[in-house]
Amino acid sequence: MRVLIVEDDSSLSRSLVAEFEARGFKVLSAPDGREGQYLATEYPVDLAIIDLGLPEVSGIELIESLRAASKDYPILVLTARDRWQDKVEALKIGADDYVTKPFHVEELIARADALLRRAGGWAQSELVCGPITLDTRSQSVRLEGQQVELTSFEYRLLEYLMLHAGEVCSKTQITEALYDQDFERDSNVIEVFIGRLRRKLDPDSAHKPIETLRGRGYRMVLPRGAPEAR
């Protein structure tokens, strides 16, 4: 998942970038509204975290320009102002959520996860596809109730596929979402990780959760939701 962070306070911005990267996000960061605008339009972004009090171009103007340019990914607003009129204004012009400063990083990441989940059409923090359950809050995966150990990259890959369950995800899309922008793209790496996920999630080849569409990409084929009512 690629996150754009536009925050002018350099130490806060540095910490946020580190925290998000540690959780497997790919992060683009900008110290002002103008650069934020540039990154937001030049790179594929899944979520933008925007501080309202920015130099050059204000947070409000940035959000307005993104929405005007038909960028429809979720936008989370950071603000030191906790007046209701400010919150209402930010959400009215197109932001999806707000977090007031000071905040706990966990809180911010949970909100970011929730927005990404919603953007993928999931209402709950637990993503369930057949026997696979992915909990975005604890970042854990269970297979038929049993904990499955995944590396951070495997987890992000599975999360991406499950968020887009039923859709075809091309290798380029996946690489862009999971790697840094300057990473030398090698599609074989994705293939290797898909192979590992299949072994961990379907050791007996009973469910065949991830389908390979030759030349087009991969698809999570298990239907959204549990197989039977719990």
Binding site: W84, K87, V88, L91, D97, R118, A123
Partner: protein, 458 residues
């Protein structure tokens, strides 16, 4: 008396108005008087001329003449009386002159044809100015012949001019007297009428020096509004400055304890880093909460500004609900609005946003699925009730949240801050907050905001 003074302004403009008005009146009256005096002069000329014509008769030698005692106006017989008569024959030779006509020639330049009348002014250097009437007459003699004659009457203008001048002088004199009298009366009236204003100024001065708390509101009806608003401003200003001072005191006080904890923590060798981090985070949260609470309290204006327009509550509620629907999308809250059409309240938009935002957000946070926002409006007050179907508040919540919130030093649980701020903001509008159980099963929070000039019944 400078022009900054109301009295000076009124007197100046009334004087200007009176002078202009009287000047127009004087000119008008003088013109009318002059016209009528001119008409009177012409009438007098006519009468004299007709008298002269009537007195003329044919003499025994068949010529036109006046008898020895023609029975004419006496002034024609007195020299230099100011009334003169002449009769000329067809050649312009005077055949008769009145006895009053002494030492003066009348050079006629334009002769009337028989039957014609000519009015003219005879103005010769060094002599009396005359107003004259010439009339041409064709006289029929007994022998059947007839000859043209010209009859002339002249009257001195001087008495008429003198009368006009006297009239104008009188007129100006009287009007001057009236003007001065009116201005004197006006000065006295203004002195009396402006007395309450002077008293008001005096009282405001006393308030400034601390010798008085409020302005007396027993004033003429034009000033009671002003006095009332002044008292309102003074009162809210006083309350605001008290509130700022208290907020700063409270803020300083409530920050110093966590700061002290942090300082002790930093030098405490008996605590491991993990525990220190946790403690530090706890103290930072405490400070954040207190700063947030105190600043939100201080920000509430209580609608002290006098120029506040009534704010429509419907759109504010809709905006807030729209915002919360986005933020709490996962929860799929069903929020119903029951807002009286056109409900308005004369308060600060920021305050109303805080009251409604905090209450509706609490409801979204604690509800299971349903929230109901009711706004009722009457002449005396606006009542806002927010219902939810959540677990409800514990019994002592009202005391815990609202009462304790008013005392800054106590720590308030996170969810209580919003409610405490709402309660304090409502109080600034002389309003109140009540907690109860909602028919939906959860909490019902009601805020009553009385309108200006109305107080809540305790």
């Amino acid at each position: 008396m400078s022009l900054q003074s109301l009295r000076a302004r009124v007197l100046l403009w009334v004087s200007v108005a009176l002078i202009v008005l009287f000047a127009i009146t004087i000119v008008g009256l003088a013109v009318i008087f002059q016209r009528s005096s001119e008409l009177a002069l012409r009438d007098a000329l006519q009468v004299q001329l007709l008298g002269l014509i009537a007195a003329a008769e044919e003499s025994e030698d068949g010529e036109l003449s006046l008898p020895d005692d023609p029975g004419l106006d006496l002034s024609l017989t007195v020299p230099e009386s100011g009334v003169y008569g002449v009769i000329w024959d067809a050649d312009g030779v005077p055949i008769w002159r009145s006895a009053s006509w002494v030492g003066r020639e009348w050079f006629v330049t334009q002769w009337p044809i028989p039957g014609e009348r000519i009015y003219l002014t005879v103005d010769e250097e060094g002599l009396l100015e005359l107003e004259a009437l010439l009339m041409g007459i064709r006289w029929d003699f007994h022998d059947g012949s007839s000859l043209p004659y010209t009859f002339g009457i002249a009257l001195a203008r001087e008495p008429y001019l003198a009368r006009e001048a006297a009239f104008r002088r009188n007129l100006i004199g009287w009007f001057a007297v009236v003007t001065v009298t009116m201005l004197i009366v006006l000065t006295i009236v203004l002195r009396y009428a402006l007395k309450p204003l002077r008293r008001l100024v005096h009282e405001v001065g006393e308030i400034e020096t601390g010798r008085r708390q409020v302005v007396t509101e027993r004033l003429p009806s034009e000033l009671t509004g002003l006095a009332h608003n002044l008292n309102f401003l003074i009162d809210s200003e006083r309350r605001r400055s008290v509130r700022y001072r208290n907020t700063l005191d409270d803020l300083a006080h409530s920050l110093k304890t966590p700061l002290a904890s942090i300082r002790v923590l930093l030098t405490d060798r008996g605590v491991d880093d993990e525990a220190k981090m946790r403690a530090l985070d706890r103290e930072v949260s405490r400070m954040d909460q207190r700063i947030g609470y105190q600043l939100r309290r201080a920000r509430a204006t209580g609608g002290t500004g006098l120029g506040l327009a009534p704010v429509a509550l419907g759109p504010i509620v809709e905006d807030i609900v729209g915002t919360l629907d986005k933020v709490y999308r996962d929860k799929q809250v069903s929020c119903e609005l029951d807002i009286e059409a056109g409900a308005r309240y004369q308060g600060d938009p920021g305050d109303l946003n805080e009251i409604l935002g905090n209450l509706i957000e609490n409801a979204y946070k604690y509800c299971r699925k349903r929230v109901l926002v009711e706004v009722k409006s009457s002449v005396e007050r606006v009542e806002i009730v927010i219902h939810d179907d959540g677990p409800g508040l514990p019994e002592d919540a009202e005391e815990a949240v609202i009462e304790r919130g008013a005392r800054a030093d106590e720590s308030i649980p996170g969810e209580g801050i919003g409610l405490a701020v709402v309660a304090e903001t409502a109080e600034l509008y002389q309003g109140s907050v009540r907690l109860g159980t909602s028919p939906l099963g959860g909490t019902a929070v009601g805020v009553i905001l009385p309108r200006r000039g109305y107080r809540l019944k305790k």
